[in-house]
Amino acid sequence: MSPRRTDTGGRIDRLKTIRFSFDGVAYTGHAGDTLASALLAKGVTLFGRSFKYHRPRGLLTAGVEEPNALVTVLKGEVREPNIPATMVEIHDGLVAISQNRFPSLAWDIHAVNQLGGKILSAGFYYKTFMGPVIGPLKGTRFWMFCEHFIRRAAGLGSAGSAKDPAHYERMNAFCDVLVVGSGPAGLMAAKAAADQGARVMLADLEPRFGGSTNWSNETIDGAPAADWARRTVTQLEGRDNVRLLPRTTVWGYYDNNTLAALERVSDHKEQPAKGEPRHRYWAIRARSVVLATGAFERPLVFPGNDRPGVMLAHAAERYANEFGVLPGERIALFTNNDSAYRAAIALKKAGAAIVAIADVRSELSPEMRKLATEAEAEIFAGHAVVATEGGKALSGVKVQRFDMVTGALTGDERSIHADCLLMSGGWSPTIHLASQAGAKAEWNAARQAFLPPKPAQQWIGAGAFTGSFSTAEAIAEGRAAGLAAAGGTSTPAALPTVEAVHGDPDPAPVFEIRAKGKSFVDFQHDVTAEDVRLAHREGFVSVEHLKRYTTLGMATDQGKSSNVPGLAIMAEALGKPIPEVGTTRFRPPFAPVSIGSLAAERFGDLKPERLTPMHDWHVANGATMYSAGLWYRPMIYGLSGETIEQAYVREAKATRESAGIVDVSTLGKIAVQGPDAAAFLDRVYTNMFSTLAVGKARYGLMLREDGFAFDDGTTWRLGEQDFLMTTTTANAGKVMQHLEYFLDVIWPDLKVHVTSVTDEWAGAAIGGPKARQILAACVTGTAVDNATLPFMGIVHGQIAGVPVMICRLSFSGEMAFEVYSGAGHGIHVWEALIEAGKPFGLVAYGLEALGTMRIEKGHVTGAEIDGRTTARDLHLDWMLSKKKPFIGSAMMDREGLIASDRLELVGLIALDNRPLNGGAHIVEALDETNPHGSIGHITACCYSPALGKHIALALVQAGKARHGTRAHVSDPLRNRFGPVEIVSNHFYDPEGTRMHG
């Protein structure tokens, strides 16, 4: 005997057959099935192996809270582990496999762990791996060796390493009312709010709206509840002010009523539609929220409660009524409350035999007795299940007389032949979102459950979420909540009438049956009742410690079914009532969230790109592009067969011999304008700018308030009140923000306006002995000779009919000019320069050659201005004006910032003539086996064509005093050791004769 599909019933489409595979075996199911229901219909009861003991496990639930039946879904090369089979909708071609078993689910080698139960108890890792190793293995890495195998034995599915090709989306949404949960309460709330004209969003994590109406067997307004729900959903679908989100888990409740939700858009399809994402992350700002999230049924804790075939009562009801699947032919029930009797009737109707109902309560209401009789079940009032039998499927249960007050078991055990045991330990409202929203749950002794707290944000609860477990209450509360959330007033209106089985919503306060054998509290993490008591005996009495020591509630299901039973057992051990033990606060996410959905489109193809006006030219001319922040810049313009080093050496050499041109459009550019612009720059830069003549540029250095170096660049005085500041590419945004802060917050009296004009100007730097001749050949409207355009001078003219601004300044150390034009003309001017340069041997060069020439010159960049260096460290102290205060001037002379052993900028020459590495350490005495004694590190390195040597810039302790001395590079990670000479950072043409010409 085994589970099977019923002949009729269920909300599946029996005409549609779907083919899928599980563990390599082909199965069929129907449209509307989950992987769980489809496999169960085929008689599969074994779904997984437990975390620690590798016990066989079956389905405990039918929903998101499933702790046992976790599977890995394979899509091509991509594997997604740890998905509850209850949440996987089957589609043609679905491939799923079981987890944590070897070699197969049925024959698992690690099942021997079940014999080692005493050793693998709570705190196993702490006890095992923290203790000293004694005996012959002392001093070895024996534990680390063992750990590898133990960690392999315990665990969940394994993650894949293939790149996830799926695409994910993020949506921002705004609404007046967000309704979470689409059971009777949620549907009523959505309808009431929508009727008020509010913008409503309704989200449910299931594919089918309707919640319990899909399986309750109740009637609403004389029709099956599911029909009523479908009608209501159809009404909502037709409205412009309602957005319905099925398959959408609202997983986070944040400040200002911002909620996060995950919509599983196409997981249930064989192929997503064109452009359709796999998941969509919703950031929803809701004016108010209706929480109609229902409740989770709790398991009872008794020996063997984890055997495949033991499941929650309502889950069986769902399988029977929603999916047309009988979880067994001979079904026994074990309960502490009335709700399970409804399940008995449902399964009886669906065709199963109800062999027994064991109820811990000795007094049963006449209504429940009547239901049991209707189900033709033998009643065991005042009894408990004390054992289950069978291997990978249930074959029977044992019941014994049970005293609810003392917990004592008396009398003879009685065996009952059954292939399925349904249990119900009462219900816990799904208060996770309310708890995330910021308030503490309150224990309700009657319901034996934590009820939602008083709202700390704009939300209203309705239905089972509030502890009102009947459908009639859910409908009334749902309507009231929807009205209130939409700001409407409650008017008396006829509510839909419900026909349902009436039971007592309050369970008996029984959580555990103490008998011999393993009784599981947390199924997913294999935490037993005995583990909880062990934790108590070892002194872990706070609920937070209990959680961490036993890992109770820390699995991927986050204790949805185990939290309250675990607390109850701890409370009993402590001899305290449950509310005094307290509960842990729920934190987002409510259920696991795909990382892809959080990244959404902010990576890969959709990452924003900043391209200079000359970008297409670079690409067309063989440039290898390099991403620098959001910018793309040419790294080299490689010829075929050239290595990167050969290319940059050729480019740098050609520049120093004739001329080179580089795209500098990415430099940050800020227009600083206004009557106080010069005064402002005097405060911002360490050196003077008010003395700068119109038509001249000056190199400037900025410090931070704390006295460390911040950024450098040239600023050009275009007019009395008009400056163009340039910044490093990387710091453009930061410098802008820095200037704005000081103007807005510190010196609002200064009449200055700053505007980011980075994107308005295209820039080309042309340098080399022939640079001036090239300009002379193409610039009109101005001379470019030494008198007209001296070092740091600015002229205005035209190139190919386009107005340009030319400043003579040099980063390469050559006679060089920066040519700026409007961004729209950038490519035009660039091509004109290239054309004019042809007779002179002009080459385009990239970042590598730029870097090489700046290292040869000893100029600093972000690698040296790294937030830890001062102006003095970089030998820029000549720029620190003594005539005026500036940002950072008050703090730059602090003791630690002028100490003599600070890291200072130096040059290094490799004496072994081998390449150096960025990040390598500098040591005085080399010890390859025990590298230590770093006196600094390399910040930038290259092969210098001008010197014919491998050189580097480095920050070295008291570096200047070491000029001319020897040291060593020590780079154990890359196994590069060798002698270097410490020299001045100005390797090449230190007098600057080339650029001054």
């Binding site: 944040y254 400040d255 200002n256 911002t258 700002r285 910021g438 700390a456 405060r683 308030e705 704390d706 923000q737 704005e740 802060y741 807005d744 917050v745 510190i746 609002p748 009296d749 205060p885 500036f886 001037s889 008050a890 703090m891 602090r894």
Partner: protein, 98 residues
């Protein structure tokens, strides 16, 4: 978290950049009072409750705002332009003189 920019209206916090404790007083630029500079650069209030903070609407109008935010609840009780502070302080000064 939403911040109601006086210029742009209620906007999500991702549009803003936190620019620090709004209680700091920058010493006179020429001041050599090291204690005061040290306090300005490094000391920050960290109250459990209302905090006077500076935020820049960097993804919007780029104005700097003085925001009073409750650090326990994230409730924002007031938002004003920082520049407005100065303008009104200058006005008060002028009025006091007159």
């Amino acid at each position: 978290m939403l911040i109601t920019c006086p210029y742009c209206g209620p906007r999500d916090v991702i549009e803003f950049t936190y620019q620090g404790d709004g209680n700091r007083e920058r010493p006179d630029p020429a001041s050599q009072n090291f204690e005061a500079w040290n306090a300005y650069v490094y000391d920050r209030l960290n109250p459990a409750g209302d905090h006077n903070e500076i935020w820049q609407h960097s993804g919007g109008c780029r104005a700097h705002l003085r925001v009073v935010r409750n650090t326990l609840t994230h409730e924002i009780s007031s938002v004003a332009f920082v520049r407005g502070d100065h303008a009104s302080a200058a006005r008060r000064k002028a009025e006091d003189k007159a």
